[in-house]
Amino acid sequence: MSTVVEHVACSFCGCLCDDIAVEVEGAHIVKVKRACSNGQGIFMDYDPRPRRPLVGGEEVEWDAAVAAAAAILRAADSPLIYGLSSSASEAQRKAVELADRIGAIVDSTSSVCHGPTGLAMQAVGEPTCTLGEVRDRADLLVFWGCNPDQSHLRHFARYSLNAKGAQTPKGRADRTMYAVDVRETGTTKKADHFLQIDPGCDYEVLSTLRLLVQGGEPEGETVGGVAVADLKELVERLKSCRYGLFFMGMGLTMTAARQLNVAELFTLVAELNEYAKCSVIPMRGHGNVTGADQVLTWTSGYPFAVSYARGYPQFSPGEFTAVDMLARRAADAAVIIASDPGAHFPRPAAAHLERIPTIVLDHGPSVTASHATVLFPTAAYGVDAAGTAYRMDNVPIPLSQVIETGRPTDEDILGRLIEAVRT
């Protein structure tokens, strides 16, 4: 006897598509409609059977696991709490509360994703909008250093390139698309204009665009491998469009100039507003990394890389960011929440996680979980744990509990840890 749960939000990526239908039989998900392959994976590849927590690889009761974790935290001088971005905001709030109470450092996957974007926003501001404005108004799209064709699979259909809206009733035909990248991708193939940039030259090209917007003339015929004539054409379009939209990603945040790249883009967008409406939306990767930014900011004042070691929040990227904390061996214990730095961090940083005691909350197997000192098998947010997540454009979306599995949520376990370290 199956039932269909409608209007479910998929929690995988920053798109947070909330039109998913999930067919459920008891505590099993049997079918998922409208989700992309990642959404399919989130719902169908999850083994929801409740598991016992592990301490040192051995199954124990929940109380014993909590006690073991609390002992680790009490003994630690410099605990790091990391992850957060695949967890609901209710759990993120608990994570920050835990950090506040034990004087930990707390960082989210922002630091290896759009952390530089946050730094750029702090430096120059950010003209942005919600995705519905893109769908309804944007007639000129520029995808810079991102590849939604591979990373945000329903973005074009739901929000951007192909979406139909009030001013864009013909969808794709009502839009001009640019893609800026160092190589040809599935995204660049969809573009009307592909500007292929030499690796590491985004900053120069962005600077040149700013110069062109202000009526200046660059030297030479190419900049960063791009023809100045093509840049001039782009600027003409940007200055005369109805609503221009830049989507940006790791091509800017992970390359040499990092936040300086992003700041140059944000400044370009701000300056374009003298001529035409223009906004920028960062392609946030994880489903609730935006929520992690939001929660950390409203509780501490800062979006990531926060230390509570002195009893109050301090912000220092490069100091309190997780990769640096682990690389310098500055963390002597870690709480990893719904994240796999063991797999996704540079090897030398991941290696430190194998040296220190780690408390891992995750709904499934992961490299990090396989080395956990204490492992809490928690519910998967948006699947068997309800909660709130924040879309890449900061719109909060409610997540459903589609099946009941009896697993505790990240919020539950973090709440228990908070109590346990108090006593």
Partner: protein, 544 residues
Amino acid sequence: MMLGILGGRVYDPRNGLDGQVADIWVKDGRVVAAGEVDRDHAEIVDAAGLVVMPGGVEVHSHLVGAKVNAGRKLRPEDHRGHERARVGDLRSGTGGTVPSTHLSGYLYSEMGYTTVMEAATAPLVARHTHEEIEDMPNLDKGVFITMGNNHFIMQAIRDGRPELARDYVAWLLKATKGYAIKIVNPGGVENWKWGKNVGELDDEVIGYGVTPRQILETLAWVNEELGLPHVPHIHGINLGRSTSARTTAETMKTLKGQRAHYCHLQFLSYGEGPRHIHKGEAAMLAEAVNADPAMTVDVGQIVFGRATTMTSDGPLQHMLHQTAGGRWMNDDVESESGGGIVPIVYKRTNPINATMWRTGLELFLLIDDPWRVFLTTDHPNAGCFTSYPQVIRLLMDSAFRRQMFDGIHVRARRGALLPELEREYTLGEIAVITRAGPARALGLDKKGHLGVGADADVAVYAEQDDKEAMFARPRYVFKDGVLVVRDGAVVAEVPGRTFYVAPPHDPSVESEIRAYFEHAYTVSYENYAVLSGDLAHTEPVACG
């Protein structure tokens, strides 16, 4: 749980107490008659020689939600040096012009405030506002929902269907657990999505053909129809511009006789001045306010020093970026709203800032009825709420006011009205503009007074000549009868409740709204509303 606050000089303007010695008795979080409390089992607080007031009621402040949080994230430099360490079970936080949520609660509490209204939230992100509210303790809250650029409403006006707008607004307030109708630059924020604005009440909104005047009139009518406890809360067109005094006066005329609240009136009181320095038109606006008893206002007083401008007025914020330079945040919100953020510094040596400062004080001193003019700094736009004690001193101490006036730019002093205005607010009047008046205007009948039945939100101050020092450091603050502040420092955290309204709507409107969602939004209709289960402590306030 029983409490007696005895022998204090009580300022309870709603109940006619203007400093008379009286006892306040509390049982189970409410003020009760003396006979109801068993003195032997009550906690007794000796308030002899102290000033006792209801807890402060903030009528307009930007504290929680999407825009505020963007302002927090934007300005790490604003927080450094303003940290608050964790103490016992209390949380740590950072301050500056946009404090973190726990600290915001503590700082208001430490001034003796117990209720705050979050001034503006776009419906699509109301869920975010309510999440932050859960992390702002010691205060009761309400949320104003921005509607002045809402597509559904503008469509209904265009189609000549005000009742549809009415039912939609009722539905929307319930969906967002909101408290009141907020209107920000009606039509102007929608036009900003086309790179434009409005400048006159009869300008057209692009794509709708409706006007700011129609939006204001319709929403005022809707407010009356729904019997909402508060009135339409209006941030008018042309804020910050030299046309603002004229169009604000026109707006007031348009809505004359209908109840309305004009927020941060100071920012909308400018006329054309020489050399592009706006002229303060406080006298003209004060006259309009005095003439219309249906109207309430809050001032939005400038405080010299750092501030962060953050409003839903997208085109205004862009203009500020163009004039002040520096960082600019903009956010266009689909089908509903917009806004922006620009950090700012107000200097007494800047003739424009000085004129703004002077204009706010003139409004306070020229508006006769303290029940209709409330103390705000439109936090954090004109200044941080932690400066309220300074503003109180400026109102009560004309010598201090004169001294500060003498230190502002000469061009703002020339021909100014302020030095002639020697009026000094009394403690009773301060109790009105910070407590009794806002509570009444908000329709919160258990707030802002200490009569039987009131919530036991009480602030006790040691009277001092320096009124800034006095109001900055209450001796005691009680929230629902629980001691939360002693000697100006928070000692306990209580959660507070969120007030919301739930006026009925014609259920047939839902199918129209549902259909509208298909093309208007990128979220499902089913996922839009904030449900009761999503919120920890809520309390409906009756309509009609």
